[in-house]
Symmetry: C2
Subunit: 418 residues, 2 copies
């Protein structure tokens, strides 16, 4: 067999156990909050017909969709987000799903982006969406969930920026920017945070906007006020108990994807500089565009990878153990293997996460070193002395302290106190 | 925008909430058992360099790998299983990971198969592998985990078939089947269960095996005895507490993939007819083939999709609720929305999974019908009468019974008793 160089593709990552422990805890925390608000789980395929995916996000984004011909020469593409798939589901099963449909979906998405800090080619989105309600109450509830989730994750300094596509459309209409150019202008405005005003002005010139219109746009955008719909949304936020410290109206917020039609929102943290960690908005036309009936919809996506980056970089969870295994049962020598297995069986029956060392020929001090390297806090030793005493020796690796105890005492010692 | 037909690709499926509830419970059950045995979580990318994936499974399997050129013209492929990715991880990070490395991995895999009952193009594998131990103790532990998992899932009638590639290689050597043909013979034998002996004999003829050798193979295969390594494995199974009722030596078990080198195993259920639900074995050369050092390895894959099919078809979990939402808070009319929101907030604070109806303009009886269709067991109503009494009305949809209670009483009623 030809020898190859073992490597991952650029922008793709392996998650080793220490990283997975953080990821799993974030997913567990988010799912619990989602379910508290009545969102139900959904999963959709990684591959969709390319025509389902393309033409929904905007030209630039479309170029980032991984598309290819499958073995049956069908044009297919890898999921770019979870919003188009859930909209396709609503279009496809329109009479089987009671509305409003509130679902959460935690799955991988792929974008052929240029990899950089906080931007990967493969990343996991945790989405909630309410499909079927035109009311700003639905948007407000989504924002309340963002607030609740970030707090439960231990984030203390964040802000949820809120704007509305309708506010932006009205503004552009007032300046005389024609409808055919409005989405392109929004895609350019979306880059204000990432690049700089000069760059954005350049892009707007390419759209053949006059100098005067560009000037007006920049001078008016910061003076715009919330419309009636947004005011109602803010009112609902108050009723839902979301404090004003954690959200603000931001008329420069544009969001990059074409499908948004109403309120849009984005959560950012103060530190580290990593872009938005949560983003979404209302998309009232997408389900119809996918061949379904007119179903208004709103939702948001939590970026799992960036959230984990923040937790790690800001050391938000200092107490989190890097491994779930509580104890390693060593093998004194091959002739005592049966005894070690019997002890491991009983520790597992007592619900303790127990690793049995898997090579009976290995010397005991190498087994202890292995436990230490792996971060397993305790090891158990069963040799001739212990068997005579009907006991086991337990050693705490951090302190080096060891004691010979009955198995019941060991189980009691290792069982976490509630 | 061009209207499209909303549809999934053949062999790909959406999992709506009722199905997801089963899937999530299976994953939770398996992960818990895996962690009890000291396996730690790992995740790898969906896309790998094509050269990582190809040439490991066998010719027929290689044709089922979804491969394509990415935007940088790299030949890439979608994960076909989780065994090659974890082996690539070991090859790539060889000095950073303490051995033995015991990991579990629950991720989607893709195969361009012909879809049929129990066979999908996208399916989820739940793998455990022990990498770094040459001992049959490692294989025996994997089999003990299969036994433990299937029992915890509620499976009562299953059998784990056990054989060894070494046993098959020795048998073929004795008959005079040359090494260059042995893997092809194994791939044919693997089809015995799925097709019939005549078909398999035909395939063997195409490999230019003489009639006599084929005859010998078929007459000897059922008389073969376990070798020393397998005998030791069976001995360890006894020590690990696995009852003989749930496993058997089966010399006709072949497994289809090329990379196996030692013990192989497969679990099947009596009903329904669905093929194996768990399968795996030892693969001592794969990590070196992927550019790493010689690391012996063994492991197994639980087929999540087939396991869920069995649970549903055999109705193994009749008590499982199809939805986690416990209560719907209705909106009496728009003027009482603030009251409904306040009640929903408090129910959520009490950790009850609470859906607030998201359209304040909808008539109350339509809201009740919605809860019923969705399978939410209780609804709460707050109107002028309730506000006067500082109480809420709670209605159980199954019985139609309703009571007006204080909010504390409602919380007590809905909180599950431990």
């Amino acid at each position: 067999m030809k020898k190859i160089k073992p490597q991952t593709l650029k922008g793709f990552r392996d998650f080793l156990p220490e990283e997975m422990v953080i990821r799993q805890k974030v997913i567990r925390t988010l799912s619990e909050v989602f379910e508290t608000y009545g969102f139900q789980p959904l999963e959709t395929p990684a591959l969709e017909y390319a025509e389902t995916l393309l033409g929904k996000y905007g030209e630039e984004a479309d170029r980032l969709v991984y598309t290819f011909k499958d073995k049956g020469s069908r044009e297919v593409g890898l999921r770019y987000d979870l919003t188009v798939p859930v909209s396709r589901v609503l279009a496809q099963y329109q009479n089987q799903i009671p509305l409003p449909f509130k679902r959460y979906q935690i799955q991988t998405t792929w974008r052929a982006e240029k990899p950089q800090k906080g931007r990967y080619r493969e990343f996991t989105q945790c989405d909630i969406d309410s499909l079927g309600s035109p009311s700003p109450l639905a948007d407000a509830e989504i924002i309340a969930v963002i607030d609740d989730c970030l707090k439960k994750l231990g984030f203390e300094k964040f802000v949820i920026k809120i704007n509305s596509r309708q506010v932006l459309f009205e503004l552009m209409k007032g300046i005389g920017i024609t409808e055919d150019k409005q989405l392109a202008v929004i895609r350019s405005l979306d880059k204000l945070e990432k690049t700089n005003p000069a760059e954005v002005k350049n892009e707007l010139k390419k759209l053949e906007l006059t100098e005067e219109k560009i000037k007006k746009l920049f001078s008016l955008i910061n003076k715009v006020q919330p419309d009636e719909n947004l005011k109602q949304l803010f009112n609902y936020l108050e009723w839902l108990g979301v404090s004003k410290d954690f959200y603000q109206f931001d008329p420069t917020l544009a969001r990059g994807l074409d499908y948004y039609t109403g309120p849009i929102f984005e959560a950012i943290v103060e530190k580290p500089k990593i872009g938005s960690i949560v983003g979404g908005g209302r998309y009232d036309n997408l389900i119809a565009d996918l061949g379904g009936p007119d179903i208004p919809a709103t939702g948001v996506s939590f970026g799992l990878d960036r959230i984990c980056d923040v937790i790690r970089e800001e050391n938000l969870w200092p107490e989190l153990s890097p491994i779930s295994t509580q104890v390693l049962v060593t093998i004194f020598s091959p002739e005592y293997l049966e005894n070690s297995i019997a002890i491991a069986n009983q520790l597992r029956t007592a619900c303790l996460s127990t690793e049995l060392y898997l090579d009976p020929e290995t010397k005991i001090d190498k087994q202890l070193k292995y436990a230490d390297k792996k971060g397993i806090p305790y090891v158990v030793i069963i040799g001739p002395e212990e068997i005579k005493k009907e006991a086991v020796t337990i050693k705490e690796l951090k302190t080096g302290k060891q004691k010979t105890l009955s198995l019941d005492q060991v189980i009691k010692k290792l069982t976490p106190k509630e």
